[in-house]
C-alpha cells in the first residue's frame, strides 16, 4: 500500500476540518470505549488474563523459529501448503501464482490487514483477477476506492448517509426509488449483492488471527460470517499471516481469544471463531480442496531482538486506537498507512522506515491510555519515545522540535526548575483549556497543535497533585510518623 505518512501534519490538519469525519468519530468512538469497559467489568479474571496473554506471546516469540517450522510440518501433514515470503513482493507473487494455477477469475476476501499491507487487491486486478471484499466495512471501502480507517472497523469514518449514497451509485441494477429506512436495509442489500459473489468465487483469501503450531491450523475471528463463507465455498483457500501470528497450542490461542473480543468490540466472544486445518477430507461434503498458508515476514524479523520486539505481541484488537485522544481527533486516514493509532505509530516506522513515518510517534499526548487497555500489555508510549529518540539522534526532526526537546531535557535534568516551570505552564493552560478540556491551538506551539489537540491539564502538575494526595492519605500519614 502507498503511504501518505510523511504528510501526517497536513493529513491531520485536513482531518480536523472534515465535518463528516468529525461527526463519525464523535458518534462511534465513545461506543467502543463503553462496550469494552462493560465486557471487562464482567470478567473478574480479565487483568490476570492480560498477564497470561503477554506471557504466551513472549514465549511464542522467544521460540518463533521453532514454532513456525512445527506449524509448517503440521500444515503439510494435513495436506496443505506453506509459502514463505520475505517481502511484500514475494507474497503478492505467491498469491497470484496460486490464483493462476486455480484458473481464478474472481476471488472473495475476508477482512485482512496484512492483505491491505501487501496490496493484494491491486496486484490481482493488474493481473486480470477480480478481488471482492466481503466484510461489510471492507466492501464499501472497496466501492469507494478508499483504504480502511480502523483495523477492525474499516468504515469507521463513514456515516449512514455515505453508505446509502454509495450503494445507490454502485448498485445500479436495483430500483432507484428504494428506501433505506433503517441501517438494516443497507445490510440486507449488501448481503444480497455478496451472496452471488461468494457462490461464484474460485479462490477465497482470508487473514489469520492466529496460527496454531500444534495442529497446523489458521484461525479467523468474525461476526458477519463472511470470512467463513470465503474459506468454505471456493475450491481454494489462502490464509495470509505474518510470522508473529503463530502460537504453540489450542489452549494458548483460547486464552488469547478470551481477551481479544472483549478488548476489540466488547463482546464476550465473537460470533464465529474458526480453526482451519488443511483441505477437504475424504467423505467431506464441503470445504475447499486446497489449503494454502502464505507466511509473510515483511519487516517483522528485523524487529526481533530490538526494543520493538514487544510490538510483535499485538493481536490487532484496536483497543489502543479506540482509546487514543489523537486517533479520536484525526481518525485513521491521517496516519497515512495501513495501521493507525498508537499501534500504527510504533509499527509503521518499523515496517516502512522512520524516514517516511517519523511524524507518527509524535502523534501522541503520552496520556498512557493505550498501554493501560492493551490486552497483551505492549508498552506503546515507551516505544513511541524510542522512535522519537532515534529520530532525534538522526536529526530528522525539524529544528523547532529539536530545540524544544533540548529545552525539555535541560529542565528535566533540573527537577526544581522543571517543577516550577511546569506548574506555571499548567496553571495557565488549565485556565485557557477549561472550557473544552482540549486545546486545538496553543501559543508558542502552533506547529504542534496545528495537527493535534492537547488534553488540557487540570490546572495542576502531577508532582503537585502527588504531593497533595500523599499528604491527604492516611497511609502516608502513618508512614510519616
Amino acid at each position: 500500500m502507498l503511504t501518505t505518512s510523511p504528510e501526517f501534519k497536513t493529513n491531520a490538519h485536513n482531518a480536523l476540518a472534515d465535518a463528516g469525519l468529525q461527526k463519525a468519530l464523535a458518534f462511534s468512538k465513545p461506543q467502543f470505549m463503553a462496550r469494552r469497559s462493560a465486557a471487562v467489568a464482567n470478567l473478574p479474571e480479565f487483568e490476570s488474563l492480560r498477564d497470561i496473554g503477554r506471557d504466551i506471546k513472549n514465549h511464542a516469540l522467544a521460540n518463533l523459529d521453532f514454532y513456525l517450522e512445527t506449524f509448517e510440518d503440521n500444515v503439510q501433514r494435513a495436506g496443505g501448503h506453506v509459502h514463505w515470503c520475505s517481502t511484500a513482493d514475494d507474497a503478492r507473487a505467491a498469491v497470484l501464482e496460486i490464483c493462476r494455477k486455480a484458473d481464478a477469475r474472481t476471488v472473495t476476501k475476508g477482512k485482512s490487514m496484512i492483505s491491505e499491507e501487501l496490496g493484494i487487491n491491486a496486484h490481482l486486478e493488474a493481473n486480470g483477477i477480480a478481488p471482492i471484499e466481503t466484510d461489510l466495512g471492507e466492501y464499501i471501502i472497496q466501492l469507494r476506492h478508499e483504504t480502511p480507517s480502523h483495523i477492525i472497523a474499516p468504515a469507521f469514518h463513514l456515516n449512514r448517509e455515505d453508505w446509502e449514497a454509495q450503494f445507490r451509485l454502485s448498485h445500479t441494477d436495483l430500483p432507484v426509488d428504494r428506501v433505506f429506512a433503517e441501517r438494516r436495509d443497507i445490510l440486507t442489500e449488501a448481503r444480497g449483492k455478496l451472496r452471488e459473489k461468494f457462490l461464484a468465487a474460485d479462490v477465497g483469501i482470508t487473514g489469520a488471527n492466529f496460527l496454531i503450531a500444534e495442529t497446523g491450523s489458521s484461525v479467523i475471528v468474525t461476526n458477519e460470517g463472511n470470512g467463513d463463507l470465503t474459506q468454505t465455498l471456493p475450491r481454494v483457500h489462502i490464509a495470509l499471516a505474518s510470522v508473529e501470528k503463530v502460537v504453540p497450542t489450542l489452549e494458548d490461542a483460547t486464552s488469547l481469544l478470551r481477551i481479544l473480543a472483549r478488548s476489540a468490540t466488547g463482546q464476550d466472544f465473537s460470533v464465529y471463531t474458526t480453526f482451519s486445518t488443511g483441505g477437504r477430507r475424504a467423505g467431506d461434503l464441503d470445504g475447499p480442496q486446497e489449503y494454502h498458508v502464505v507466511i509473510v515476514d515483511a519487516g517483522r524479523s528485523a524487529m526481533m531482538g530490538t526494543e520493538f520486539q514487544e510490538m510483535l505481541r499485538c493481536i490487532r484488537c484496536a483497543a489502543c486506537m479506540n482509546h487514543c485522544p489523537v486517533y479520536g481527533a484525526v481518525g485513521g486516514h491521517a496516519y497515512g498507512w495501513v495501521y493507525p493509532g498508537p499501534m500504527g505509530s510504533v509499527l509503521t516506522p518499523s515496517l516502512i522506515g522512520v524516514d517516511k513515518a517519523g511524524h507518527l510517534p509524535n502523534a501522541s499526548t503520552f496520556c498512557g491510555k493505550c498501554e493501560s487497555v492493551c490486552p497483551v500489555k505492549i508498552p506503546l508510549p515507551k516505544m513511541m519515545r524510542h522512535w522519537r529518540e532515534r529520530e532525534f539522534e538522526r536529526h530528522l526532526q525539524p529544528g523547532g522540535i529539536r530545540t524544544n526537546l533540548a529545552l525539555w531535557a535541560y529542565f528535566a535534568r533540573r527537577p526544581g526548575l522543571y517543577r516550577l516551570a511546569t506548574r506555571m505552564g499548567a496553571a495557565a493552560m488549565g485556565l485557557m483549556g477549561r472550557r473544552r478540556g482540549r486545546f486545538s491551538s496553543l501559543p508558542l506551539a502552533g506547529g504542534w497543535t496545528a495537527g493535534r489537540d492537547l488534553p488540557a491539564p487540570e490546572g495542576d502538575t502531577f508532582f503537585a497533585r502527588y504531593a497533595r494526595e500523599q499528604r491527604a492519605s492516611p497511609v502516608a500519614e502513618r508512614q510519616a510518623k
Binding site: E45, L64, S301
Partner: protein, 234 residues
C-alpha cells in the same frame, strides 16, 4: 531459500542458532500435553447451573433455546419453532446418525433433505458436537456427517444439542475433541474445520451499531435435549 532466510533473520534477532535438542524436546512436550491457563470461575459451577449459564448466554447473544425431555420431542420442537417464525417447514439436515435416529415421521409435514446446505436452503439442522457454557458457544467440528455449510448458508440455523455435551470452558470442549475425534489424514484429532458459533451473524460496520443478519444465519435456534440426569436436578 526464503524459508531459511526468514528463520535465519529471526534467529539473529534472538541471538542464537536453531534451538538445542533438549529445548526443542521440552517445547514438543509442552505441545503434546498443552498446559491449561487460567479458566474463568464463571463456568466452574454445578451441572444444572452450567446448563442454565449456557442458555442465558445463548439468549444474551440473540439466539433462542427450546428445552425438550428426549429426542422424541425434537420433531415437534423444530416444527413448532419454524411455524412460530412463519418459516417454511422444509429443511436440510446433517447426515448424522443421532439426527437420523430422531423419530421425524411423527411430524410428516416436515420436509427433510440430508446433505450439505445450498444457497437456496432457508433452514438448516445441524448436529451440536458440544457447547461451552462460558459464553453460550456451540462447537461444530466438520465431518462428513456434520457439513460446515449447514452453519453458514441458511437464513435460519437450528442446532440439536444434548445437555450431556455442555461443558464449562472452551478447554473442556477441546478435551472432548482430543479424546473423541480421529482424523484419518493426519492421525491427529483436528478435522478440516472447527467452528465456534456464538449467536446469529451480525455486523456493526454501519456507524458501529449492531445489526443482526449479516452474511451468515439471521436466526440461531438450539433444541436442547435434557439427557443429563445431573443437569436436570435444577
Amino acid at each position: 531459500m526464503t524459508k531459511e532466510a526468514i528463520l535465519g533473520a529471526i534467529r539473529r534477532g534472538l541471538k542464537r542458532g536453531p534451538l538445542p535438542g533438549d529445548q526443542a524436546a521440552m517445547l514438543r512436550e509442552r505441545m503434546a500435553h498443552p498446559p491449561r491457563h487460567l479458566i474463568p470461575a464463571r463456568s466452574q459451577v454445578p451441572r444444572p447451573d452450567q446448563i442454565a449459564l449456557l442458555v442465558r448466554n445463548i439468549e444474551k447473544e440473540f439466539g433462542t433455546v427450546t428445552r425438550v425431555a428426549d429426542s422424541g420431542e425434537v420433531p415437534e420442537a423444530v416444527a413448532g419453532y419454524l411455524a412460530g417464525q412463519n418459516l417454511p417447514s422444509s429443511l436440510v439436515m446433517a447426515p448424522h446418525p443421532e439426527l437420523r435416529a430422531i423419530p421425524w415421521s411423527s411430524r410428516p409435514l416436515l420436509l427433510i433433505r440430508e446433505g450439505r446446505a445450498e444457497a437456496t436452503d432457508l433452514v438448516s439442522l445441524q448436529h451440536g458436537f458440544a457447547a461451552v457454557a462460558e459464553t453460550g458457544t456451540l462447537m461444530l467440528p466438520s465431518a462428513p456427517e456434520r457439513p460446515t455449510t449447514l452453519n453458514l448458508l441458511a437464513d435460519t440455523a437450528v442446532v440439536v444439542l444434548r445437555a450431556s455435551r455442555v461443558v464449562g470452558a472452551y478447554e473442556d470442549a477441546w478435551d472432548l475433541l482430543r479424546a473423541e475425534n480421529h482424523d484419518a489424514l493426519t492421525g491427529g484429532f483436528m478435522p478440516r474445520n472447527v467452528m465456534f458459533v456464538t449467536g446469529p451473524s451480525r455486523s456493526a460496520d454501519i456507524e458501529q451499531t449492531l445489526e443482526l443478519g449479516a452474511h451468515g444465519p439471521r436466526r440461531l435456534h438450539v433444541v436442547l435435549i435434557e439427557d443429563d440426569p445431573a443437569a436436570r436436578a435444577a
